[in-house]
Subunit: 421 residues, 3 copies
């Protein structure tokens, strides 16, 4: 292929995959707003639009350079007011001689930026789901700013940015650990600091059921995420510049789909013995967990292994949802099970199935976990100190929508009152 | 164009169109979950995610090879544990010499697989809509497995796989018959075996109105389907390797859109005399029927003919919905009218408008109809024998959601009771 | 790059961006159907599907040629039954010698048509939001036909079609004025002629609050619009034929995203002092306004300017919503503020930030405003004369859904009665 054609296709594929990954934010929003009580559905919507807006700015202002530019071992640099390279500006200004220098980069500078930016938001979306219905709106936004400006970029610098984990040979193709476990650890820290929803875990040891309030909307969210994952994993090939990329991306999309299928089937089958019924939310989460699990190595496992990796991921998610209930850790949408537990599994599975250094994988999982969990704990504690993290019992009773936004999500529908609050 | 550029673009277009066709599953889900009673909305969501997961696995394990590999006249072969070709594996393994052999194929092996796989799910989605609110969850899943592993692949082998209908010269560009009528026949067989919803056709001859329960969600489904259809028809050019493909796909997308416009306008105009009012569901179905009708030949008809083919499709759909009511065949979303009736029309229309052998088209329509209908009848009867196909009257009364899943789709909203059950 | 590769990529990018822009219709539909009272949600859905169907036909039959073919200064020509060029038909018919002439055009004829067609619908969608809940269904459809066949194409002929404003040097890359302000002016004219919803502005000077009836659906609409805007602006580069296009489109997508982020953040921050609370709808509209504002020049402003342009756009929108309330102009979704006010700002901003003739920008804004507003006023007045524009008070009371369509959007949910009607 001509070098210019490669450049165009590399850049274009970053952008079109990036647009589909941005769309995953809508998927998380639908999944979460359909899962919460109706009285908190507006706030979770605003949190999700807000986190995408904040992540887009912080990653531009701080995160991108920390993650990618001048990373030595631990962290990159700091620069504001950046953008296209001088060569690209010259080219756009009409200096055709600059084209050669531009082409050297393989893709346009900001197409890569765009692709990396949409990944950040995913990490934050995981947190919003777990902490729904009791974390304060503006406290959550502050956490998102820290997560997307610092915590995620540091993990990214260690790995995709070329830092110490990358140099050790840590394998995580599209981010089972780097994106999904990072989000999961941040969510877990938040769940511990913020605490469970009032009344979720009763004094008699029983658990208050909190089924989704709007199932079609939850299901839409699952489809959006499944769709967007093709871009998430396929785009992580980071190029479309020849026959190797085309073959690799094709295999990636097929494996991504098979793993999701496997995750769904395993979870729906397991849900009956574990939850006593064909459980819709566990089944749907199983598909997500299958997707998370394959994300560490969709390019190098055989197709039948993708089914198995996904199925194990779906099973782990179902079991994890049950385990977190036992531990009285309140995760509204099951995000910790689907993203953290299945993410750990996926990071190990790629190595078990396709070869590599399992010890390095374990080191990566532990290092990222230790860093993200402790940094998140610290952040949550500081936020609690400065502005509080949790709404009052009265807000929980009346709903965040009415108190924090002055509206209801469905103001015209007659809603059943929650007898426990 | 360079051969490698052609390969990359062919593969990439299969994938990106395929992602948009997968998205149509979300469209069917929204259309259906917004059309059913709220008490059955969760189950229809789970059915639709499940059918996509099942179709993805059965088509991998059985269907694809039956449909495409080694088809003589009637059917292909059987093989498991397949994937990328040996040449592609060698190339990915670093053997650059394998590139020439890989390029020979024109596109990556699994990009074609991915594109074909997403078509299968569409066929199943048609069935789920017709049979909503009374077919049992697991019985439906078993039918989907048979449909996607055997019934659809046999039809596909006869036609796109190069079998006897293809050799006769049967024209069906993107599947008015092969996909949509196949789904429609399977749905019709199911509707006959499973029977109408209790109370739908009253003893006094009147019909119980069952309008959509959530119109915005239905409308969202229509937009998703309309959007996905551009990929469904455009991608069926099966290549993006040069000027001919680019011109053809452009015409295809324009015709696809004009036919949908024509179908909508005709249906909304006809709905008033036929149903006594501007009928929302009939109008929206008219757009779908226009899309189905153009699907057999979007590449070869002139643009004004596309409008007319779509308009006739929309009219047939509206009349068909009325006719099925008269025949007391209960089709919850009008899928038989939109997909089967308009699919037959489209398969004839391409030949009437653009030339070809009308007799062959009739033979194809009848052969596919006879095979799919009888195979589906047989499958439904066997399922009925083995595990039952229909929920009890009590389940119909309380809703499938509560009984089969233990949840409600909208548990917090106060819902009007159905006085007839 | 080879000429044929350029042709293929130019055409393909028109199509794939076009599909994503068509998807914005679904975004407007969700935004609007979630914003209206539940009793009018079905009609607004049907209006939106209908406007896309109508726009697709009128732009084919009349609008496209008026806008683009043979434009001298004011307006193009009139032709029906057009389509692919003679060269393209020859090529598709097997005449390989025609390829050279086809390639001369740079892209396939109908890929450009498709891309232009989806822009038209956006303009109409703006109108439907403002006038929701009281404009009659068929009167609205007639207005859409006039807007898409004549009014928008005339504006387009002056500018993108090469007419007098283009010759003056008017800058409006993707349509802050041409698309968004045009829609906004048409909506404003309609709001004046049709009048406010009954009871919205009370005799005591207070304003009846009419918050969204379904917030998750509104939020989904915002995400769809944000997503589609990448295509709206990125596709307006009108080519993907080399390194310059790839670099430009990358910058465009980044600026588009940053402006939306800036618009959201500014609006959510401003909403508290202006509306007395963190206002969800104002915040979401702020993102839209940021997108509208950057649309006039996403290709030529620096990234930090994109943030600022978007933030100012979001602020203007928030203030505009308050101002229109004071003027007692009833805009159900805030479309006039988001599209007209922010569109004017964006058209000025591109010139302020990136250079150009500010006077020409003002002339363009005024000329388009004067033409669209007066032509729309005339059209609305004629429609009022011929068939009426406004539903009766009784229809407002019972809802358009029941009276105009004979259905309800959510027939099973128990709905609170509006005490004011």
């Amino acid at each position: 292929m001509a070098q210019e054609t490669q450049f165009v296709l590399n850049s274009f594929s970053f952008l079109i995959w990036g647009v589909l990954i941005m769309w995953m934010c809508a998927g998380f929003t639908m999944l979460e707003s359909g899962s919460v009580r109706t009285k908190n559905a507006s706030v979770i919507c605003l949190k999700n639009v807000g986190l995408y807006a904040i992540a887009g700015l912080t990653f531009y202002l701080v995160g991108y350079n920390l993650m990618y530019v001048g990373v030595d071992n631990l962290i990159g640099g700091f620069r504001i007011f950046y953008g296209t390279s001088a060569e690209e500006q010259a080219l756009l200004g009409g200096d055709a001689a600059a084209a050669a220098a531009v082409l050297e980069n393989g893709n346009s500078v900001m197409s890569d930026w765009f692709f990396q930016m949409v990944f950040v938001a995913t990490t934050s979306s995981i947190v919003s789901g777990t902490l729904a219905e009791r974390v304060r709106l503006w406290s959550f936004f502050v956490f998102v700013a820290v997560l997307t400006a610092f915590i995620y970029p540091v993990v990214g610098a260690w790995t995709w940015g070329g830092g110490w984990l990358d140099q050790l040979g840590f394998q995580d193709f599209a981010g089972s650990t780097i994106v999904h476990s990072t989000g999961g650890w941040a969510a877990l820290a938040g769940a511990i600091i913020v605490g469970a929803r009032h009344g979720k875990y009763r004094e008699d040891g029983s658990i208050k059921p909190t089924p989704p309030s709007n199932v079609p909307v939850v299901t839409l969210g699952i489809f959006i995420l499944w769709m967007g994952w093709f871009a998430f994993n396929g785009g992580s090939q980071l190029a479309l510049s020849g026959v190797v990329d085309a073959v690799a991306i094709s295999n990636i999309l097929v494996n991504t789909n098979l793993a999701a299928c496997g995750g769904f089937i395993a979870a729906i089958a397991l849900s009956r013995p574990i939850f006593g019924r064909t459980d819709l939310l566990a089944s749907l989460n199983g598909a997500i967990a299958g997707l998370v699990a394959i994300t560490a190595g969709p390019d190098i496992v055989d197709h039948y292994w993708a089914i198995i990796i996904g199925a194990v991921g779906g099973s782990i998610c179902t079991l994890g949802m049950k385990m977190l209930e036992r531990l009285r850790i309140d995760d509204v949408v099951g995000a910790i099970s689907a993203h953290l537990f299945a993410g750990i599994w996926g990071t190990l599975a790629v190595c078990i199935v396709a070869g590599g250094n399992l010890l390095v994988q374990v080191v990566g999982i532990l290092a990222v976990g230790a860093f993200v969990f402790s940094a998140s704990m610290l952040t949550w504690v500081v936020i609690r100190k400065l502005m509080g993290v949790r709404v009052t019992l009265d807000v929980e009773r009346h709903g965040q929508d009415v108190v924090e936004l002055g509206i209801e999500a469905y103001p015209e529908f007659v809603v059943l009152q929650d007898p426990d609050l």
